[in-house]
Amino acid sequence: MAQVSSIAEEQASTPLSSSKSITLRISRYNPKHDDSSVFMEFTVPYQKWTTVLEAILDVKKHFDHSVAVRYSCRQATCGSCGMMINGKPKLACFTKISELNSDVITVEPMSNFPIIRDLAVKFERMFETHHKIKPYLIRDDTELESDAKEFLQSPKEVEQYIQFANCIKCGLCNSACPTMATDSSFVGPQALAQAYRYVADSRDKGKDSRLKMIDEPHGIWRCHFAGSCSQVCPKGVDPAMGIQLLRGYLLGFRS
């Protein structure tokens, strides 16, 4: 059963002046001793600019400091605060309550990631797959050699990959992906989009080894272009585009 609290009942130490309030439902679950998750409900005041993360932090400040949530930059740069907000993966710091058009906001841990506690999830596997595709420039020479020059690029060459370099590893794409929902071995849209980011970089010489890595049973062929990853990306990375362009190399449409 959901537990309900409100700022009026608790007589908050910090006065909050707002005419509007929402019910914030927070999923509580500790895998160490809970069998299943329960929702706790809090009535939280908000302003036009209040984000979901701020509402959660209000709850931590005034009602229950034990709510587990990971956050850092509060400006959609660190990629820490991804969670399911009203059923869709979003960054809590980048989602305003007023934009959700709902009196009840339900926050849950991101799907397709193991839960640490409450809203915090483990990113280990995503970082593993990210690391697997070698997210760095591969070439024999280096800018660090004393007589070497910078690896210059034209603006056009930069445009080929700069969009994909915006990835903040927040995991929203992996959470929205339908294949990730059932396939534990799938590389995932985050890593595949990053594979394209380096393959499309004119300075990189590791295309063949990356393509070989993703051309496997649970690799790029498990993407069916549903596009959900791109719809939830908070940085405009558009992983679906990167994956299809990457697949173009394997199908011989690109060289």
Binding site: T182, D183, H218, R222, L251
Partner: protein, 108 residues
């Protein structure tokens, strides 16, 4: 997946011919016994039916294999799904080919 794309493109063209044959002859007339028999005995058409059978079997069972492999993982399960789908595909091709060959050779 390349085989999935290839069989799909080839099958679309051939199935279109197969369906148009039903429509140009008149749907009910085209399904009459003598008409169907004549279709099977016309060698180019029988070859086309055989090609459709092979292409759609590969495409269909490979598609099923992909869906099943995405639902559950594990070495034994994945091998069972792959070999199971391959066996079903070969079985269906053999069963369908028997019909085409027997009727084409006039053994009915």
């Amino acid at each position: 997946m390349k085989i999935h794309y290839g069989t799909a493109i080839a099958a679309v063209a051939l199935v279109a011919v197969h369906v148009l044959m039903r429509l140009t002859q008149g749907f009910a007339e085209s399904l009459e016994y003598e008409s169907v028999l004549a279709n099977y005995k016309f060698v180019p058409y029988a070859i086309m039916l055989e090609l459709i059978l092979v292409l759609l079997s590969i495409h269909g069972f490979n598609g099923l294999r992909v869906i099943l492999l995405e639902l559950k993982q594990g070495r034994i399960y994945e091998k069972a799904v792959s070999y199971g789908c391959l066996a079903a595909m070969i079985g269906l091709i053999a069963y369908g080919s028997r019909t085409i060959i027997v009727v084409n050779m006039g053994l009915v």
